[in-house]
Symmetry: C2
C-alpha cells in the first residue's frame, strides 16, 4: 500500500473499531502464577493485563475484529524473549509478536488469546557497517528511525511500505512498497535474522553475526522466516542491505489516455532498461478524489507518478528516455520536479490517496485489496476490475505499484450497510479469482494474516499448502506461534 | 568461480579421476524387479546400469571421489519423474538428481548408491513471457542455451557461474557469478519452482503457473528450495526473471598497487553508487600465471577487471566516475574496451585463470576455495591468506568476485604428494576459520555438497543446523533425497 498507509494510524483505527466483531468473553489462559513468571522475566512494570492495553494490542490498522491477548509483556532483550517463549511453551500459551501494529491483514490479532510480546523496548541499532552497506536492527527500530539515523552516512534503506513500520515486522510480512521495482522487497534485502523459536531456542538464520552479500551455506532459513508472519518464530533482530543515497532524484506526474496506455507505457519503460525507482498508477477516480480532497488541479485521467534516481546526468537521460516512451503512449502534459520540496508537492496526490478515497464517501470505512499479477496482465485486470466496481455499485479508486504488477482498490463503504459489505466481500473474491486466473497472487505485499487464508489453497495448491503445514508442524509442534495466521 | 569453470569439463575431469578414492564394491540396491519398474516408466532405452554410464554420473567437476549410482534413468517429463520418485520411495531407494554435472562440491556423488535421475531429456523452454520479463525452463536447459534462445528478444538472464550449467541445477545450488553485484544471484532471480518431492508429490513453490514480480502469500517455498542441492526434492522446472540487454557495455582492466588498494577501490565504487556490472580481482600471482600461459603482457600486480552496463551516455559517465575512483586509489594504466571483440580480448586473462593457475604446476590437480566475507574485510582476509599460501608452500593464485566479498584460491597441487595434500586440507580449514571469524561464510556460491558439511555447524550454529535437520526430516522423512549432502 506504500506511502498512503502512513496516514492510517489515527482516525481510521477509531472508525474501524465499531466495525469489528464484539469481543468474546473467555477465561484468560494466563493465570496469576504464569503472570508472575512473566513478570519475573521483564519486571512487573512491563506486564499488563489491563483491557485498554490488551485491546490496543489485539488489532492492527485493518478492519479485522479486535481479539485481545490475555496479557501484554514488553521484554528488553533477546534473552528475555527466549525466557518468555520457554514459559509459554511449557504452559502451552499462544505467543503473538507485536511490532508497531501497522499491519493490515490482522497479523497481531490474538485469535486464541495468550501472550502478546510487544517488542518496542528493543530499539537498538545493533551494528552499522557503513563500508559493507549493511545494518543490524532490533524490532523497535522503524524504517523512518533507521533512515533518520543513516541521514549523514550517505546510505539509506529503500523498502517503504508507507507505514512507519518496524523493520523486523516488515521482514515478518515480506513487505515491499513504491521502491521495489528498483531496489527489491524485504525478500531481497534481508541478509540475516535472529529468531526466537517456539521452545525458546535462538536461531540465527545465516549464523550469528554473519553479514555477507551472498551465501550458499545450507538451507535459506532467512527467506523462510521472511514472510512467515510470526508463525514460525519471533524475529528479534534483522540484518539489512543498505544502498548509497542517490545523487539526484527527479519526479514526474503524467496523465495517460487510459489504464491500458499506462500499462503499455510501464511495460515499455521496464523493457527499455530505464532503472525507474518508482512507477505508480492512480486511476481517474482516484485523481478526481485527490483533486477534490486537496484542491488540486490534476487532469482527471489515469495518471503515472514516476521517480528516477541516479547521477544528475543519468537522471536527465532517464527523464529524456522516459519522456519519449511516455509521449509515444499518448501521455498528456508532464509535470517534472527535481527539488525535494517540488517533488513532495508533486507526490501529494499519491500520498493522500487513502484519505481522498475515503472522503468520497463521508463516514465510510476502508478496505484495501492487494492482488499482484504478471505486468502484461495488469491493464486487462484493472480494466475488468473497474467495470466490476461499477457493476457492484462500489466506490473503489485504484492506486498501484504498476512496475511490480501490484495494485490496490481502496474500497470506501458504509460499515452499517450489510448489503454493501456483502458486495465488498463478493467483489474482493472476484478480484482474487481474476488475479489468480492470469498467474497472479492474492497478496503482493500485505501478507496472508487472517484475511487471505481462504485464498491460499486456491493460489498455491494442495501440495504447497501441505508442505507449509509440514514446516509449521516441524518448527512449532504445539501450534503456539501466532496461531490462526497464514495457514 | 564464474567463467573459469566453463573450461573445466575436459582434461580436468580426466586428471582428477586418479585422485579419487577407489570405488567400493557393494551390492546394488536396485534389483531386477525395480529396474523393470523404472524401465516401464521411462522406456528400456532410458535406463542404464553400465559401469561407464554410472561412473559418469557419480562425480561432478570436482576432486570428490566418484561414487556411482546403481542405475541411471532419464525421464522425459515431470510426470515420469513423479512416477520414478514413487517407485524409489516405495523401495527406500536414494534419489540423486543430475543436471549437467558441472557442480564442484560433489553434489551428484551417489554416496549411498541408488537411482540417479538424469534430467537432460527435459529440455523445453516451457513458457517465455517477454512482456513480463520472465521465462520457465526445464532442467535440460542450460544458461547458454537460454541466452541463445533469447538473443533476438532484447532480454537475457545474467546469472553466470561460468560453467554452462543447467538453470534448474543453478537454482539447486544457489549459484551466482560475475554479474551478481549488479543483477543478484539465483536467490533473487527465481520466481517459482516445480519440484517433485520424495514421495512423488508435485510442488509448485509459488503455485502452479504463477509468475509475479513479488508475492507475500504464505511461506517462501521458492527460496527454501533454491540452494537445497537436491536434498528436499527434484527441481523439474524453474521460472526465472529476465533483464533487458544493456544498450552499451564497457570493460576495463586496471592494475592496482596492492590487494588492499583494490579492496578500497571496490568499496569506494560501491559506495559511489556506480552500478558496476562486474568487478573481479586477480592477484599478482594469477596475473603472472595468465601472462605466462597466454603470452600476455599485463602488469604483474593485483588487477581489477571491471564491466559497466547501461546506455551509451551512462556507460561513459560510469567510466568517468570509476576512472576517478581508480586513480584516487593509485591505479596504474587502465585499458578500456567497448567493442565486443576487444572486451573478449581484455577478459581473456580472467577467463583463462583456472588453466593458467594449473599450468604453474604441470601435472597438478586443482581445488578451488569459495569463502565470502563482508566486503570491508576482503583486503585483510586476502592479504593474510596470501601469507598463509607462502608459509604453507602452496601454489594458489587468487581470483574473486570482490564486489560481493567472494574470492577463490585456485590451488594447484600434486595428487601424489600426500604431504602437500595434507597442507592443502589444513590451508583450506584455516581459510574457512579466517572467513568465519570476520562474519563470513565458507561458501559464497559453490554450495555445501560433500566438501563443506564439516564447516556448516561452525558457520550457522547448532540451532540453525537443528532447524535445517527438522526441515529435511519433515520433507524427506526416509532420507532418500540426495543423501549425505548439505547436512
Amino acid at each position: 500500500m506504500a506511502a498512503l498507509w502512513s496516514v492510517l494510524k489515527g482516525p481510521v483505527r477509531t472508525s474501524l473499531t465499531n466495525f469489528r466483531r464484539p469481543l468474546t468473553t473467555m477465561a484468560s489462559r494466563v493465570d496469576e502464577r504464569v503472570r508472575d513468571l512473566l513478570a519475573e522475566v521483564v519486571g512487573p512494570g512491563n506486564v499488563s493485563s489491563s483491557l485498554a492495553v490488551r485491546e490496543q494490542h489485539g488489532r492492527d490498522e485493518s478492519f479485522h475484529a479486535c481479539k485481545p491477548p490475555d496479557v501484554v509483556v514488553c521484554p528488553a532483550s533477546t534473552a528475555e524473549v527466549q525466557q518468555l517463549a520457554r514459559i509459554c511453551y511449557e504452559h502451552d500459551l499462544p505467543m503473538v509478536p507485536y511490532g508497531t501494529g501497522t499491519g493490515i491483514e490482522g497479523g497481531v490479532v490474538a485469535e486464541q488469546g495468550g501472550v502478546c510480546i510487544s517488542l518496542w523496548r528493543m530499539a537498538d541499532i545493533v551494528a552499522l557497517h557503513e563500508e559493507d552497506l549493511d545494518v543490524t536492527v532490533q524490532p523497535g527500530v522503524t524504517r523512518v528511525a533507521l533512515n533518520h539515523h543513516l541521514r549523514h552516512t550517505g546510505l539509506w534503506f529503500p523498502v517503504d511500505p508507507g507505514a512507519d513500520a518496524s523493520l523486523c515486522g516488515m521482514a515478518a510480512t515480506s513487505a515491499s512498497g513504491t521502491h521495489t521495482t528498483r531496489y527489491g522487497s524485504m525478500r531481497e534485502n534481508v541478509a540475516n535474522l535472529e529468531v526466537v523459536l517456539a521452545d525458546g531456542r535462538l536461531l540465527h538464520t545465516a549464523g550469528e553475526g554473519r553479514h555477507t552479500r551472498k551465501t550458499s551455506a545450507g538451507y535459506n532459513l532467512t527467506n523462510l522466516m521472511v514472510g512467515s508472519e510470526g508463525t514460525l518464530g519471533i524475529i528479534t533482530s534483522a540484518t539489512l542491505r543498505l544502498f548509497p543515497q542517490p545523487e539526484a532524484v527527479a519526479s514526474a506526474v503524467c496523465p495517460m489516455p487510459s489504464v491500458t496506455a499506462a500499462g503499455e507505457c510501464t511495460l515499455q519503460l521496464l523493457r527499455s532498461g530505464v532503472p525507474v525507482a518508482r512507477i505508480e498508477l492512480l486511476d481517474e477516480v482516484m485523481m478526481a478524489a485527490c483533486n477534490r480532497y486537496k484542491g488540486l488541479d490534476y487532469a482527471e485521467q489515469p495518471t503515472l507518478f514516476l521517480e528516477f534516481h541516479g547521477t544528475a546526468a543519468s537522471v536527465q537521460e532517464q527523464i529524456h528516455t522516459a519522456g519519449e516512451v511516455l509521449s509515444g503512449c499518448g501521455a498528456g502534459q508532464l509535470r517534472w520536479a527535481l527539488a525535494a520540496s517540488e517533488r513532495a508537492r508533486l507526490w501529494e496526490a499519491r500520498h493522500q490517496a487513502y484519505y481522498a478515497a475515503r472522503a468520497l464517501r463521508p463516514g465510510s470505512v476502508g478496505y484495501v485489496t492487494d492482488v499482484c499479477v504478471p505486468i502484461s496482465k495488469l491493464p486487462q485486470v484493472i480494466t475488468v476490475t473497474k467495470d466490476d466496481l461499477v457493476q457492484s455499485r462500489l466506490t473503489g479508486p485504484i492506486a498501484g505499484h504498476v512496475g511490480d504488477g501490484n495494485f490496490h482498490c481502496i474500497l470506501a463503504f458504509s460499515e452499517h450497510d450489510q448489503q454493501e459489505r456483502q458486495r465488498v466481500t463478493e467483489f474482493c473474491d472476484r478480484l482474487v479469482t481474476r488475479a489468480l486466473a492470469v498467474g497472479g497472487t492474492c497478496t503482493g505485499e500485505h501478507g496472508v494474516g487472517l484475511g487471505k487464508r481462504r485464498h491460499l489453497r486456491h493460489e498455491v495448491g494442495e501440495t504447497a499448502l501441505g508442505v507449509m503445514r509440514q514446516l509449521k508442524d516441524a518448527l512449532d509442534p504445539k501450534g503456539l506461534m501466532n496461531p490462526g495466521k497464514v495457514l
